[in-house]
């Protein structure tokens, strides 16, 4: 199951990457592969922008705009004038 094409904001700076493989270890959707001692984004459309890779990259080679992929959360954020939030709406089943 893949979501919308070409929307994920995930970016990898191949120059900075040291090929430690931590992004492969934390990604829940097998977005990355390790090739010639460097990580590469193999399946961008599978990225759900959870931010696990960027948070665990020891050299900050990854960037992604993280947030909840949840319409109720985004709606309640807009309606309350704050950030997208899960919780009372119970969007995070």
């Amino acid at each position: 199951m893949n979501y919308l094409k070409n929307v994920a904001t995930l970016k990898l700076d191949a120059e900075t990457c040291i090929g430690c493989g931590q992004c492969l270890a934390v990604c829940p959707h097998e977005v990355f592969v390790l090739e010639n001692g460097k990580a590469r984004i193999a399946d961008l459309d599978a990225c759900m922008e959870c931010g696990a890779c960027a948070k665990n990259c020891p050299v900050n080679a990854l960037s992604v705009k993280t947030g909840v992929g949840c319409a109720s959360g985004i709606l309640s954020g807009i309606l309350r004038g704050g950030d997208a939030c899960c919780g009372e709406g119970g969007c995070c089943g």
Binding site: M1, Y3, P28, M48, E49, N56, C70, A84
Partner: protein
């Protein structure tokens, strides 16, 4: 003692039914938990699956023991949502280890990690509070992989000296992970959204959308009761029946059929489901409308049937618009329950879908109102 959980009476876990004893350690007594899930635990799980007291289903944060752990035994980090904690202790049957429960305000690991409550700061402070460095000889923490969006492994190591090892997504894979010397396979790291997963979330979906559906049904029932001769509630059962058919389609059928519904955007998947539902009801209604005319030819007297969607083209089309809007909107909101949608994607589809859903719903209700006035 720096351990708040032993000072604070409110979270003294001694009397919890899943605590089976205590272990004396250099950092004080640590409650030992059972690895079998009892009927009571299962009823609790069933209850939260129906969204009853889901936000208060918690375990006191702190340190726990499983089996007969030694200073060499592994440390597993968990959230204080009891469903998460139960999955973990159940998977640890036959092993000995320590469980470090973080305070995630009763939220599961993945969602809490997204919010940051299951995060670097909470791990570091919980490690220090429980004096974990005095309890265990090694410096390793097994953190569930789905905690990674909130945890920075290298930061945890820098701040408290413990190395974070990401364990499998599903607790049931822990025994295999342990016997493979703390190595996860690609399969263990992959998040799925199986038919089983999708069925398990249906009750919560239906409960959450019950009140909005009820409100909408009341509104439509009242509006469709207005006619030129006055007001009547004769059409109210139809309004309730149809709105709740939409509710059931969006909350149960869409999750079940999710991968089979056309399109990538959830609002489009929902639109298809709503449209097909309408086609089914429409063909039924047209059949009902045609029946008396056919029976004139065959010579049998058929009692005049009240068509499911109504008598007028306004109602037939109005219900199509309203049902499509309901199911599409519920499907769009299912992005939050699904395990693979990104915020950028959801925002993109919302920008187009929400205005269209709103227009369709208003136009649909308007059509039903006009139809009643005919």
């Amino acid at each position: 003692m720096t351990n708040c959980c032993r000072k604070n009476k409110c979270c003294a876990p001694k009397h919890e039914p899943w605590v089976t004893g205590e272990i004396a350690t250099p950092v004080g007594k640590v409650p030992r938990v059972g690895t079998r899930v009892t009927l009571r635990d299962e009823l609790g799980a069933l209850r939260v699956r129906f969204a009853i007291g889901r936000m208060e289903y918690t375990v006191p944060p702190g340190l726990y023991a499983v089996g007969a752990p030694t200073p060499e035994s592994p440390v597993f980090v968990s959230a204080n949502y009891k469903l998460s904690f139960d999955y973990l202790r159940c998977a640890l049957g036959g092993t000995s280890g320590w469980i470090l429960v973080l305070d995630t305000k009763g939220i599961n690991v993945w969602c809490a990690a997204g919010k940051g409550t299951f995060g670097t700061a909470e791990i570091v402070s919980r490690v220090q509070q429980t004096q974990l460095d005095r309890l265990v000889a090694h410096r390793k923490l097994i953190v569930p992989q789905l905690g990674a969006p909130g945890v920075s492994a290298h930061e945890v190591q820098k701040q408290c000296g413990f190395q974070v090892i990401y364990g499998p997504v599903r607790a049931e894979d822990i025994p295999e992970f342990l016997s493979a010397n703390f190595k996860t396979t690609p399969e263990m790291r992959r998040v799925h959204f199986t038919i089983h997963d999708r069925i398990a979330v249906i009750p919560v979906e239906l409960v959450i959308w019950f009140k909005p559906a009820l409100g909408l049904a009341v509104l439509v029932a009242l509006l469709s009761g207005i006619s030129r001769t006055g007001f009547s509630l004769a059409a109210a059962p139809r309004a309730f029946g149809l709105v709740f058919t939409g509710w059931l389609t969006g909350g149960a059928l869409v999750p079940v059929l999710l991968p089979r519904l056309p399109g990538r955007a959830f609002s489009i998947k929902g639109l298809w489901a709503g449209f097909v539902l309408w086609l089914v009801l429409l063909s039924g209604s047209l059949g009902q409308l045609a029946l008396p005319r056919i029976s004139v030819f065959v010579g049998k007297a058929t009692p005049p049937a009240e068509p499911i969607l109504g008598n007028t083209p306004y109602e037939l089309i109005g219900w199509g618009l309203l049902l499509s809007a309901i199911v599409s909107f519920m499907a769009l909101n299912f992005t939050g329950t699904s395990t693979y949608t990104s915020m950028s994607g959801v925002k993109k589809e919302m920008k187009i879908a929400i205005p269209l859903q709103l227009i369709a719903a208003v136009a649909g209700i308007f059509g039903i109102l006009i139809g009643g006035l005919q």
